[in-house]
């Protein structure tokens, strides 16, 4: 009975010792084994590991890609404009020993990264104009800052994998200027459209009126020409007929004229000596 109890207690103790010697490193982790505070082993592969119980401790570090999200900061560009840059960095712990010795933990690392990245950005953005930063050289700047930050961060066992500008916007007070400029630009455009409309309308109207006038004038000319031709021909016809006996024509045409001209409303005052009344005075 005593033996069994002893064996049981011994068994429990052995199990506890074994358990405290084993530790598990997760897929997301890497570990540093310290022996009485002195780093002796770095474990970068996940899985089951062992250490000396009591004498050795384990510190775990993240193996994943971590994010450092900087607070938005104002930076002056080469054309003396202010730009609010909000960037983030993707980094990971590549050397847990160095990392532990220099910055201890993630909070420490982030404050170092803040210093490094901000100063790199200030240098790079200070070389460029605002417009270039926004549209042209953004990618190149991000790459340069990444490379330089990575070099600087290597001392801390950190790899800076990517620094990226999340936002590069104007400060609020400059934004207002941009708005008023945008407004002026649009007003200019609106005015342009309005007066262009009027211009086009006047052009079209006057063109139409011009065409109308020309059309009518041409028609008038043509109609007069036609009439003239008609008159010419009529005159020729008349002349040819009438010149055959001019005397008879005078008589004939006069009689026609009397008939036409002297209508109902006319009043004739005639002398009795008129040819027509020849026989009124005397019979023969």
């Amino acid at each position: 009975m005593k033996n069994i109890r002893f064996i049981a207690i011994a068994g429990v103790i052995i199990v506890m010792v074994i358990l405290s010697a084993l530790f598990q490193v997760d897929q997301t982790q890497q570990a540093l084994v310290l022996q009485l505070g002195k780093p002796i082993r770095v474990i970068t592969e996940p899985g089951l590991n062992y250490k000396l119980p009591l004498l050795q401790q384990v510190m775990f570090f993240d193996r994943r890609l971590l994010v450092y999200d900087a607070a938005p900061a104002e930076i002056v560009t080469s054309d003396k404009k202010n730009l609010v840059v909000d960037n983030y960095a993707k980094w990971r712990i590549v050397d847990p020993l160095k990392f532990y010795q220099t910055v201890k933990n993630i909070t420490g690392a982030q404050s170092r990264l803040a210093d490094i990245i901000y100063s790199e950005f200030r240098v790079e953005l200070g070389k460029e104009t605002l417009n270039d930063i926004v549209s042209k050289v953004r990618t190149r700047i991000m790459e340069t800052v990444t490379v330089n930050s990575n070099k600087a961060a290597a001392d801390y066992g950190i790899e800076v994998m990517d620094v990226r500008v999340k936002r590069a916007d104007l400060p609020v007070e400059n934004e207002r200027h941009v708005f008023s400029r945008m407004q002026a630009e649009r007003q200019r455009q609106a005015k342009k459209y309005r007066s262009e409309g009027e211009e086009e309308a006047i052009k079209i109207r006057s063109q139409a009126e011009k065409e109308r006038t020309i059309l009518l004038a041409e028609a008038y000319r043509k109609s007069q020409e036609v009439r003239g031709e008609g008159e010419q021909k009529a005159i020729a016809v008349y002349a040819q007929a009438f010149q055959q006996d001019e005397n008879f024509y005078n008589f004939y045409r006069s009689l026609q004229a009397y008939e036409k001209a002297l209508v109902d409303k006319s009043t004739l005052v005639l002398g009795s000596g008129n040819e027509f009344f020849r026989f009124m005075n005397k019979a023969d």
Binding site: V67, D69, D169
Partner: protein, 351 residues
């Protein structure tokens, strides 16, 4: 007290938790230890341990849902992945399983947040995310959503900390990069589709570089408009454009109104002239023919015909008109007394 119950009634069989042969095993164990163990537990400590072991073993069973994939870790290290269906892994703490939903499309709202899922959905604008500079130093307000899913569960789960924030940050960065290369008019009008495509490509490149294990399904620009402060000016441009078109249309209407009328008028004038030409010629020819006929007749007896024609004409003429005939002898004296005004004369005669 199911233990005691089963112990008493062995023939109960199938209804109990233990199959009959297990009972026999327990008996054997009991016999081997010679009844030294306390009899509080029927079957003794061995049975308890066995059941604990079976229970522990059973915790290794898991089902991967149709929208999931199983990722098995042995002592924290990823060893293999499993597809939908029932599976077994070595029980904790040796192996554990994670079951991310790989077919579920995740949705990120950038520049706005839905505040209620009900229809009509309500939105809350997030200006510091949506206002961005364009390449021509204007500002646009662009709201968009990003849809992505897990394409590599191992990478997604273990490569990157805070996956959603990673995608969100990369999305914001790439949107600004793309918009920064465009000009405002393009962004607001025709360039939407192009921007979506470019941004999707860029975002995927960034995510692949981070090895997030996420695939971008779609980038959709929800609402792109000028900032509130200048929206009126933009609307005014649109209405000015409309106004221009209106003015042009009106003047074209005017043109369409007067030109056909003028053409008609012109044709009318020419037709009238042609008609009058033809009329004049025909009248002349007719008159001439009549004259010549008269002349031919006249020439046969000029003197008589002349008299006849004169008298016939005068007869007709004088029959129609009012006439005053004054004797030759009084003519000289009377003439000054006559009322010359024909109108007054007519009035008097009418009375």
């Amino acid at each position: 007290m199911p233990w005691e119950y089963n112990g008493k009634d062995k023939s109960g069989g199938g209804t109990g938790l233990q199959p009959p042969d297990l009972e026999a095993v327990i008996k054997k164990i009991k016999q081997r230890f010679g009844g030294k163990f306390p009899t509080k537990f029927p079957g003794g400590i061995g049975v308890v341990l066995l059941f604990l072991f079976i229970g522990w073993f059973a915790t290794g069973f898991y089902i991967v849902g149709p929208d999931e994939q199983g990722v098995v870790q042995r002592f924290g290290k990823v060893v293999y992945t499993t597809n939908p269906g029932p599976h077994w892994h070595m029980p904790t703490p040796v192996e554990t399983v994670l079951k991310p939903r790989v077919t579920q499309v995740k949705r990120l709202e950038i520049g706005f947040r839905s505040t209620s899922q009900a229809t009509p959905s309500r939105y809350q604008a997030v200006p510091h995310e949506s206002l961005m500079l364009t390449g021509d130093e204007n500002i646009v307000d662009a709201q968009f959503i990003v849809q992505y899913l897990i394409k590599d569960p191992v990478n997604y789960l273990f490569n990157v900390a805070d996956q959603e924030k990673t995608v969100r940050d990369a999305a914001e960065a790439s949107m600004r990069e793309v918009i920064g290369k465009s000009v405002i008019d393009e962004v607001l009008t025709v360039g939407k589709f192009k921007i979506q495509q470019e941004m999707k490509t860029l975002l995927q490149i960034i995510l692949d570089r981070y090895q997030v294990g996420a695939a971008v399904v779609a980038v959709q620009l929800q609402d792109v408009h000028p900032p509130k402060a200048v929206i009126e000016a933009f609307k005014d441009v649109a209405s000015a454009k409309e106004n221009k078109i209106k003015l042009i249309n009106e003047s074209q209407g005017y043109q369409n109104d007067i030109l056909p009328k003028a053409k008609g008028k012109a044709t009318q004038m020419i037709n009238q002239a042609m008609a009058s030409k033809s009329e004049m010629i025909n009248i002349a020819q007719g008159d001439a023919a009549r004259f010549l006929s008269n002349l031919r007749g006249y020439k046969q007896a000029p003197s008589v015909t002349r008299k006849r024609m004169y008298l016939e004409t005068m007869e007709k003429v004088l029959a129609k008109v009012d006439k005053i005939i004054i004797d030759q002898k009084v003519q000289q004296n009377l003439l000054p007394l006559l009322p010359i005004d024909p109108f007054r004369f007519k009035e008097q005669s009418a009375k």
